[in-house]
């Protein structure tokens, strides 16, 4: 132990005497470690770490697929919940929930606020294993509709709005102006279905009135021991066949038409979604960066190794065994590793905080991400493994017979050549990896540029949007909601600087819950009924406000002369009426229990808007105009997004907008106030996030690669001083000398680029999912980046070349 401490002390002292080497090695390594640790911490917190619930591995999301309705994912109904709860062997406990938003406050001086809420079955918290911080969680009797209405608050809302007042438990508050008693506050950190859900309404379905076919709720369950998700799916599929016996609304024919199947997925998969793929991609990119940094540090250790051959020989002559040498050199590696690892950890901790605060990253579970023990272990472990291995490089190819010669002459020339060859290979590898990262980030940048150029169908610039919800207590009828929207649109349209305003219940590029996907019947196609489509309410002025053109038929206006007019998006028209015009055709909402809804007539076709992200599939939408005569009396426009086009900077309109709403109803708050440009940017946020991180990695890679190349060329020039002196003495001109050096630099770059093209072609295909109208082998990007790498390589060779042309042959030839 003493010997190890002594070795470490000596190592620290040796490094302190060469601070340039020590600092550059530690910083370079630290940079690479920071890159990997940052993304690892994200992947660890988001993808690898179990969800923050007890025994979270047994939690699953339960839903359905309905291929007959072309629905890939739909939720749970009251009927399926009761049926599975009572009969499924694979499920220990099951619950359903649906999210919505309520208005809180607005009385007197109290600020009105929109609060996301979840209506949950009473066993929701049992399934998740949640606990109350104060008060209690709901029991069956709280949710069966027989007693006093109760609610549970999130810890965040309790602290933020009510100052953490313990007396709130037992008190009554009035979300949407309906009084409810608070029975408990959840423990801090509970963040399901989302962190910002502030209120939970316990509500169990009434078995006597439950329907099986309204699949609008989300389902979660805790698997029984011995079952995994596929086994549970088989178990539920078996039960689906018996649903019509228990719930007459789901007839065997409807069941056959829809092709209803259970969908059981690990809950983590639902929460993490596609973020995992992006994170693994970034982790691979950061590993590339770490490799480049490692190559640079290796190069530093190799140069240092040349100066330490004498030391190795002396130590050996004094009786050091290879173990002694390994220990002494490994100790130096360890000191560099600790310094590099610490730098890496500090930078990573900062970067993780920055990413968590960076809204555009749009990643789930960000509040659970931290540089924790696991990430620290990865950082320090990687750092130690790399630095110790590199520190041992001088011991590689050590041949004892050379030792005395080394001591006599001060170095073995063949060992020096070996090391120089190794450094050249390292530089080529760096150039190759840097090219890969550059091409990857450039492909994404080009993709984003294309996305910005993409035809959205509407014009987002100059549009402000805000969400509003109208509580049932005050706006229980279609007419009440319509009047509110009309009045609001009129007031907002009259504001100075406003060019147009309207309301829509589903903004383009904002994913909506399956609640909006309703089955439709097509009048003259009885064989192929029940198509699921998004059904949105829209005031007639919405289309002009967002500049979404009518491509066929007519816009909605009063006195149109069409009974129950609707508009279809072009994609919806093509789906419902392939190969022919939809204008004038009739459709109706299908409710599945035989009660007929009135037919509506397609008055016009509206240009497509993307469903979830720019460049993605067009949304299939049926727009129900909010006219005095309701198109579908069963659907009430209880919430929507106000869309305002203005000549002014959109943000300057917010106070006037808020005032207009307050004047109409002080209990209705504005929420999610943002410009349409922000909505568009957010929809491309995953690509932007990956691009920015990849761009940073690529820039660092290019810088490190350039430094590496410069170092190798510079050192080569130094080693070749005598040769260059001879060349000058023999009559070489300055240009000849410069070309010799630049040629060497270009040769290394060319070797690296050739290898880089292979690695790049092999890796960029993993980006395919993030690219839009850009192929992974885009020739423009490849050519541009190859030219950039070549130019930077020549630049790296330029400084040593200038030094080389100044070699004085007389001085150079005197050197031995």
């Amino acid at each position: 132990m003493n010997a190890v401490i002594q070795d470490l002390r000596h190592a620290a002292r040796t490094l302190a005497r060469t601070p340039g080497f020590a600092v550059v090695a530690a910083l370079t390594l630290g940079l690479g470690i920071a890159a990997v640790t940052t993304v690892f911490a994200l992947a660890n917190g988001i993808v690898l770490a179990p969800l923050p619930f007890p025994d979270a591995g047994r939690l699953v999301a339960v839903g359905h697929t309905a291929p007959g309705l072309a629905l890939e994912g739909t939720g749970m109904s009251a009927g399926t919940y009761l049926h599975y709860r009572d009969h499924a062997r694979s499920i220990a406990s099951i619950a359903t929930y649906h999210e919505s938003v309520v208005n809180l406050g607005g009385d007197g001086n109290e600020e009105a606020e929109r609060v996301p809420v979840a209506t949950v079955t009473h066993d929701f918290f049992t399934v998740l294993g949640a606990r109350a911080a104060i008060g209690r969680l709901p029991l069956g009797a709280d949710a069966d509709g027989t007693g006093e209405p109760v609610i549970v608050l999130s810890h965040d809302l309790w602290l933020r709005r009510y100052g953490g007042d313990p007396a709130l438990v037992g008190a009554t508050i009035a979300p949407n102006r309906v009084p409810r008693r608070v029975i408990g506050v959840l423990e801090p950190g509970f963040a399901f279905p989302r962190r910002d859900v502030g209120i939970f309404f316990p509500s169990d379905p009434d078995p006597a009135r439950a329907r099986a076919s309204d699949l609008y709720n989300e389902g979660i369950a805790r698997l029984a021991p011995g079952f995994d998700a596929p086994a549970a799916e088989r178990d539920l599929d078996r039960l689906i066949a018996t649903l019509p016996e228990a719930f007459p609304d789901l007839t065997p024919r409807v069941l056959a038409d829809t092709g209803l199947r259970a969908s059981v997925r690990p809950l983590k998969e639902l929460i993490v979604g596609e973020a995992g793929a992006a994170l693994w991609l970034l982790l691979a990119a950061m590993a590339f960066l770490l490799l480049i940094a490692t190559a640079n540090v290796a190069s530093l250790f190799l140069v240092r190794g040349e100066h330490r051959q004498r030391e190795i020989a002396v130590r050996t002559a004094l009786g050091a065994k290879s173990g002694h040498l390994v220990r002494a050199f490994a100790a130096e590696g360890l000191v560099v590793a600790v310094a590099g690892g610490t730098v890496g950890l500090l930078v990573a901790a900062g970067a993780v905080r920055a990413i968590a605060a960076w809204e555009i990253s749009n990643l789930p579970r960000l509040d659970e991400v931290a540089v924790d023990g696991r990430a620290a272990t990865v950082a320090l472990g990687l750092s130690a493994a790399i630095a110790v291995l590199l520190a041992l490089l001088p011991l590689v190819r050590l041949r004892r017979p050379q030792l005395v010669a080394t001591l006599g002459r001060g170095g073995s020339p063949s060992a020096g050549r070996d090391r120089q060859r190794a450094r050249r290979l390292l530089v080529m590898a760096q150039v190759a990896l840097a090219l890969t990262l550059l091409v990857g980030s450039s492909l994404l940048a080009r993709s984003l540029w294309r996305l910005r150029q993409a035809d959205l169908g509407f014009q987002p610039a100059g549009v402000l949007t805000a969400e509003l919800a109208l509580p049932r207590s005050s706006y229980g009828t279609y007419e009440a909601t319509r009047q509110f929207w009309d009045a609001l649109v009129d007031r907002v349209s009259a504001l100075p600087g406003v060019e147009g305003a309207g309301m829509v219940s589903g903004l383009p590029l904002v994913p909506q819950s399956a609640f909006h996907d309703l089955a439709l019947d097509v009048e003259d196609r009885p064989q192929e009924t029940r198509r699921a489509m998004s059904v949105y309410h829209a005031t007639p002025g919405y289309f002009a406000a967002i500049r979404l053109p009518i491509v066929e038929g007519q816009a909605i206006r009063s006195g149109l002369g069409v009974e129950r007019p609707v508009l279809l998006s072009a994609a919806a028209a093509r789906r419902l009426f392939p190969g022919r015009s939809a204008v004038g055709k009739r459709i109706r909402r299908s409710v599945g229990d035989g009660t007929d809804q009135p037919w509506a007539t397609v008055a016009g076709i509206v240009a497509n808007v993307p469903r979830e992200h720019v460049g993605g599939d067009p949304a299939e939408i049926v727009y129900l105009p909010t006219l005095a005569e309701p198109v579908d009396p069963g659907l009430r426009p209880s919430y929507g997004s106000l869309v305002v086009r203005t000549r002014l900077p959109p943000a300057s309109l917010v106070p006037a907008l808020r005032q207009a709403v307050r004047d109409l109803d002080p209990h209705v708050p504005l929420a999610a106030v943002r410009t349409m440009d922000e909505v568009v940017a957010r929809s491309a946020s995953r690509t932007s996030f990956v691009m920015v991180l990849l761009g940073v990695a690529a820039a660092l890679a290019l810088a490190l690669g350039t430094v590496g190349l410069y170092g190798v060329i510079s050192y080569a020039v130094k080693r070749r001083t005598r040769e260059l002196g001879i060349r000058v003495a023999l009559g070489a001109r300055q240009a000849d000398i410069r070309n010799v050096v630049l040629g060497e630099s270009a040769g290394l770059a060319a070797g690296g680029i050739a290898a880089g093209i292979v690695t790049t072609l092999a890796s960029t295909r993993f980006l395919r999912g993030l690219l839009y109208e850009v192929s992974p082998g885009d020739p423009l990007v490849f050519t541009g980046m190859v030219a950039l790498v070549l130019a930077v390589s020549l630049l790296a060779g330029w400084v040593p070349a200038r030094r080389a042309v100044r070699v004085d042959p007389v001085t150079a030839l005197r050197q031995e």
Binding site: N2, R17, A317, L403, L407
Partner: protein, 225 residues
């Protein structure tokens, strides 16, 4: 019994299709307590011979007996152990480790021989005292003159109490008065019983030894004294 006995020792390496000979048919015996000088022009094979004698190079043909042990038959590890136990080195360029103090340079051979810390401290103190360098113990090599550095190097060579010191041009980098001091020190050590084999180009330095072996083109061409 001779401390060293070389029989028909040869060393060569391949250069393309031919072989280049470094040592040819070397027969040499060195008695315990002897002081031998190896001389010869550059490329004669002196350093290679020293390297074989020091058991740093085991790649040779012929037989090498050290204190009755067949060094030519030993595995590298055993040969290294033999080297560690019995041989100390002194070099022309001193080769003190720049990052270690005088004290630590002296301690190093002992630590490689797993000498316990307390015993090490005693031996180093004794060596510092014996060579008159106590005041220098915390200095780094760069803070010493060439003669002082070589003094430390000799002290380092003897601290593990070797049977034999191999010295490669021990005064080659020193001016004459320092060279004399070092040679007198080596003579004194020899008088105390340490066997010394040195390589030198300098006749005055060779004059301190009892016997001079002349090498040329890898052959022993003469033995004087």
């Amino acid at each position: 019994m001779a401390l060293i006995e070389l029989q028909k020792v040869e060393k060569s390496y391949a250069t393309g299709p031919t072989r280049t000979w470094v040592l040819r048919q070397i027969d040499l015996a060195v008695e315990e307590g002897d002081f031998v000088t190896l001389m010869g022009p550059s490329g004669a094979g002196k350093t290679t011979l020293l390297s074989i004698l020091g058991m740093l190079d085991g790649d040779f043909a012929g037989a090498y007996w050290f204190a009755g042990e067949p060094a030519h038959e030993l595995k590298p590890r055993a040969r290294q152990e033999l080297h560690k136990k019995h041989i100390g080195f002194v070099f022309q360029h001193y080769h003190l480790l720049d990052d270690l103090t005088v004290y630590e340079n002296l301690e190093l051979p002992l630590s490689y021989r797993d000498v316990p810390r307390k015993v090490r401290a005693g031996k180093v103190a004794e060596a510092l005292d014996r060579f008159g360098i106590v005041a220098k113990k915390d200095l780094y090599p760069s803070q010493l003159s060439g003669g002082q550095q070589q003094l430390v190097a000799v002290a380092r060579a003897v601290i593990a109490e070797p049977k034999m010191i191999l010295a490669d041009e021990p005064t080659g980098s020193l001016h004459s008065s320092q060279g004399t001091m070092i040679m007198e020190l080596l003579s004194k050590l020899n008088a105390e019983g340490v066997t010394i084999v040195q390589v030198t180009h300098d006749d005055r330095v060779a004059g301190y030894s009892r016997r001079t072996v002349l090498l040329k083109d890898g052959w022993i061409v003469d033995s004087l004294g």
